[in-house]
Amino acid sequence: MTDTSNKNPVVSVAPSPHVFSMEMTVPVMMRDVLIALVPVVATAIYFFRWYALRQLIICVLFCLAAEVVFTRMRRRSLSLGDLSAVVTGVILGLSLPATAPWYVGVISAVVAVGIGKIVFGGLGMNIFNPAMVGRAFVMIAFAGSMAASGYIDATSGIDMLSQATPLSAFKQFGTAVPLSSLLWGTTNGSLGETSALACLLGGIYLCVRRVAAWQIPAGILATVTVVGAVANLVNLHSQWTVVHHLLGGALLLGAFFIATDPVTSPVTAAGKWIFGIGIGALVMLLRLFSGYPEGVMFAVLLMNALTPLINRWTIPRPFGGV
């Protein structure tokens, strides 16, 4: 673009505006998500060692590969530059059990990108959170590997893997783990969900950077707190307190990293509140009344499906409107 003529610089025309904020771009947002995931990934690898590393590598590689193959097939231009496939891969890996066999990772990754994203037309067009689509698929297809017993591998040499996950332990035996284990992450569970502290750390970073809309986690956590408190009052002897509800399971990972996927959540502030409150309510409904120990994934997918409707309900009142 060097200009050779001294007299006449090359001028262009384009519609207004002519200046742009370069602070936030889609690749920067994706990079921020990856930065926010660092504490979560680090604790996962620290606690689950090789199991975590293996699962994450499989998921990321196969998400990338699926992105390449599927975009080629649909003759779309490749969008690897925006890192979104990497984000999907990491979040998917973090939502799987450490012990899930390798093909579970592969298949869920291919489904996440292929069905969760590309068939809708690529990033921005999908209705459902791709990672959750992939996870839901393997949860149904490989029910055994993904069910409560799938989390347990007594032969691994890793302590936590010999225990049941906190939520299913409670569901089956009515025993609650100490809160400190939930906070630090010394429990069994999906790779990224065990350490509440790591999720909070990364999540707060995302909200501060405004990459995640804070209304969504706020709505989820507030609802879980209220419903959890009511449940506590109804059943005073339960060892599983409202704090257990907040720190345990996939709640924090889901609230900060999964529900906040902009593409599959509403665009207006009011819509984001409704979306968050809806997820919180569904999670508690599933946790308290269904046969499943955890409900974050289904709650997110359900609210994803409602997002177009929520957007329509929450058309803001324009300035000067009635």
Binding site: H18, V19, M22, V267, G321
Partner: protein, 464 residues
């Protein structure tokens, strides 16, 4: 306590006593870049060899030419008459001879017939010109006994239009109406467009004329309260106006610096905490609003009988050799103005009539400066760098930026798919193309362009 805080507020925060919150919801903070030209005192450009005067420089009907080729005209003579109510007459900014009618294309895309005058003979110029247009005294005692109708008539005859960029005929804006009585006049000195310093320099260098014009406009429209709204980044202007305004009963409303604070509706919100109804006018909430440079033209026309022949413009941006503020005759070519400022730098990449958020690009240096040209912004490649275009990720940043509280992403989608019902449902017509949404979009989408197209489609459909 709050009032006290407001009054003694330091720079950067709203101040003065007015009922509004001093700001509005949403909006953006583009880099202001005012320092390029803010300290450059207004220079008076020598009369050019020729001026090009399109017959339509305002909102409304074009004016009818009153002159023929080879006819001699003198400074201030009416050469085009605005016959319809919403129109504005045109006056010769120089002494000279009328040339053949020309066709010119304005940056906004309009092709227009234009009167061309070749300068001839002595010209009013330099300090003399400045003194007649802006320098004191402005004997304000006389205003109260002026007949309001006389003021609007003088403004009408002088061909004055809004100089802030909208170019709506001023005599219409300051005409009193029985149906919608006006209680408050707000004079807009916000100049929220980045780069431009036109209004700022006028307030600093011609504060007396601003106050005089404000009083006259208030008298014309029958307002008993008057405010001059200024963004908090223009403290020197506040200082220049303060004493004179207080003595005259004009209040200064220092509002927060944020784009687009200079939008009429948002300034009314900030100063009075009133919302102009959707699709309505300031008069619907009893307010008249006009720009600071415009009221100096009002003062000039009423007190000195001088029509609108000249205006102040900023020539600024990283792509101009010497950024300046200039008093120029309307009709001078952009090329001449740019030459006066030392020409373009090699890095210049875009020439804009107006500022970078709402201005129109142009390439032809023969394009004339019109009544509504508030400046020329020359941007470099670096300054117009934009985000790579990708698919919308529905992040809602555009929603949080839109000062009209619209959903720009939806409006753009509706426009692209020509879904006019959806566009209407989302109030597309309320968009005033301020550019805030496109400024923040992390996917680099051309939201304003799409919305503009949708608005045009819908307007065409409604006409049917």
């Amino acid at each position: 306590m709050l009032k006290f805080l407001k009054k003694s507020s330091p720079s950067g925060t709203p101040g003065g006593s007015f009922p509004g919150p001093g700001t509005f919801a949403h909006g953006v903070h583009p880099p202001q870049q005012k320092e390029l030209s803010s300290d450059a005192a207004i220079e008076i450009v020598p009369p050019p060899d020729k001026v090009i005067l399109p017959l339509l420089q305002h909102v409304g009907g074009p004016c009818t030419p009153l002159v023929k080729p080879r006819q001699k005209v003198t400074f201030g003579e009416m050469i085009g008459k605005g016959d319809t109510l919403i129109s504005a007459s045109l006056h010769a900014p120089v002494n000279g001879v009328i040339q053949k009618m020309a066709v010119t294309t304005l940056p906004n895309g309009r092709h227009l017939q234009a009167i061309v005058i070749r300068s001839e003979g002595d010209q009013l110029s330099g300090q003399q010109l400045w003194d007649r247009m802006f320098a004191g005294p402005w004997p304000e005692k006389t205003y109260q006994c002026l007949d309001p109708a006389k003021i609007t008539d003088a403004v009408h005859a002088a061909g004055i239009v809004g100089l802030g960029g909208a170019a709506f005929p001023t005599h219409v804006k300051i005409a009193p109406s029985d149906k919608k009585p006006i209680h408050t006049l707000i004079v807009n000195g916000c100049e929220c467009e980045p780069y431009l310093t036109t209004d700022y320099r006028v307030m600093v260098e011609a504060a007396d004329a601003v106050v005089a014009g404000t009083l006259l406009a208030a008298r014309a429209v029958g307002a008993d309260k008057t405010y001059i709204g200024i963004e908090s980044n223009k403290l020197e202007a506040v200082d220049a106006l303060r004493r004179r305004a207080a003595g005259a009963g004009v209040k200064l409303a220092v509002v927060r610096t944020k784009y687009p604070q200079g939008s009429e509706k948002h300034l009314i919100k900030a100063v009075l905490n009133r919302e102009v109804p959707l699709g309505g006018l300031p008069a619907d909430v009893g307010v008249a609003i006009t720009n600071v440079a415009t009221v100096t033209a009002v003062a000039r026309s009423v007190m000195r009988g001088i029509p609108l022949t000249h205006r102040v413009i900023s020539v600024t941006g990283g792509g101009i050799v010497q950024p300046k503020n200039l008093l120029v005759p309307i009709g001078i070519t952009m090329g001449e103005v740019i030459r006066y400022c030392g020409g373009l730098r090699k890095t210049a990449a875009r020439m804009i009539a107006g500022g970078p958020m709402m201005g129109f690009p142009f390439t032809n240096l023969q394009t004339p400066v019109t009544k509504g040209t508030s400046g020329i912004t020359i941007l470099t490649h670096e300054e117009i760098r934009r985000v790579d275009q990708r698919a919308c990720i529905r992040c809602g940043r555009c929603v949080d930026a839109c000062p009209m509280k619209l959903v720009p992403t939806k409006l753009a989608v509706a426009s692209r798919f020509r879904d006019l019902n959806l566009a209407r449902k989302y109030n597309i017509m309320a968009c005033f193309e301020c550019g805030s949404c496109a400024y923040v979009c992390p996917a680099g989408l051309q939201l304003v362009q799409h919305i503009r197209m949708g608005k045009a489609l819908l307007a065409a459909e409604m006409k049917k």
